[in-house]
């Protein structure tokens, strides 16, 4: 878009939206929200960047290679955490019986493996949203 108001306001607003989305993902075990809604917010901020500044500039920031790594790496990280559960205690994706540190109730570092899974889900949802948008919007030259 060539409008100067839209470009200036977008440049100011995008970091705050992304920061709020990351906050919702990280505090998923204390306040309502979690991985899915936080990931949708981060994905929405990236889609806003693509809409205002053009597909070519957005492709440089979030290229094909980065989305490949984010998509595949998300599932592999999830399976790795599950396999850690098998190695440490004997059942897939176990939390307290595998000996992960629990922490005290209500603080930021609590719950064993739960914040890690929230971050993985957030990365995966944001990457899916921006990849689908880029695939649907490209035109044949």
């Amino acid at each position: 878009m060539n409008d100067i108001i839209v470009r200036s306001i977008t440049r100011i607003v995008i970091p705050f939206v992304m920061l709020y989305g990351i906050y919702i993902v990280l505090h998923g075990h204390i306040s309502p929200g979690g991985g899915f809604s936080g990931g949708a917010l981060v994905g929405s901020s990236l889609i806003l960047y693509t809409l205002v500044f053009g597909v070519d500039k957005a492709r440089k920031k979030f290229s094909h290679r980065v989305s490949e790594i984010a998509e595949s790496g998300g599932i592999l990280l999830y399976l790795f955490v599950g396999a850690l559960g098998i190695i440490l205690s004997g059942s897939f994706l176990s939390n307290q019986s595998a000996g992960f540190p629990m922490g005290e109730l209500g603080s930021l570092l609590s719950g064993g493996v739960i914040p890690i899974l929230m971050i993985v889900i957030g990365i995966k949802v944001a990457s899916t949203m921006i990849s689908l948008f880029h695939i649907l919007i490209e035109e044949e030259k």
């Binding site: 306040s31 309502p32 899915f36 109730l105 209500g106 689908l132 695939i135 649907l136």
Partner: protein
């Protein structure tokens, strides 16, 4: 007055059913493909709304435990919210896939009106 009180008690369910009927009307009546896909999406959203409204408890608190509060608070049912999170992602995947199929249909036939596509297909069958 009993009827009005009953309706106000069940207002969530009636809203979900109204949204479902609106979505179904959109799918049946219009012949544009994209409007039909949006109608299917609206029907899915209405079903999710109904499912979560079943798990409501009057004067219940949101399911967040206070570490140093009393333990006699009545919570609403957290289980439907958990199941709906998985359902929302499935509906979004189906919508995206059908929209990509519409892009392909437009490249092949040149129109996205379902009646014109049926007419073009009949013309192709006769000439083959």
């Amino acid at each position: 007055m009993e009827l009005l009180k009953d309706v106000l008690d069940h207002i969530n369910f009636i809203g979900a059913v109204a949204l479902f009927v609106i979505g179904l009307y959109t799918v049946v009546t219009h012949s544009n493909l994209i409007k039909r896909i949006l109608g299917i999406n609206i029907m899915g959203t209405a079903i999710f709304f109904f499912f979560i409204a079943v798990g409501n408890v009057l004067e219940g608190a949101p399911p967040l435990i206070d570490p140093d509060g009393n333990s006699e608070v009545v919570f609403i049912n957290p289980l439907p919210s958990v199941l709906i999170l998985t359902g929302i992602v499935v509906v979004v995947s189906i919508t995206v896939y059908s929209l990509s199929l519409v892009v392909r249909i437009y490249e092949t036939y040149g129109t996205i009106d379902q009646k014109e596509i049926a007419a073009i297909q009949k013309g192709e069958d006769y000439s083959d």
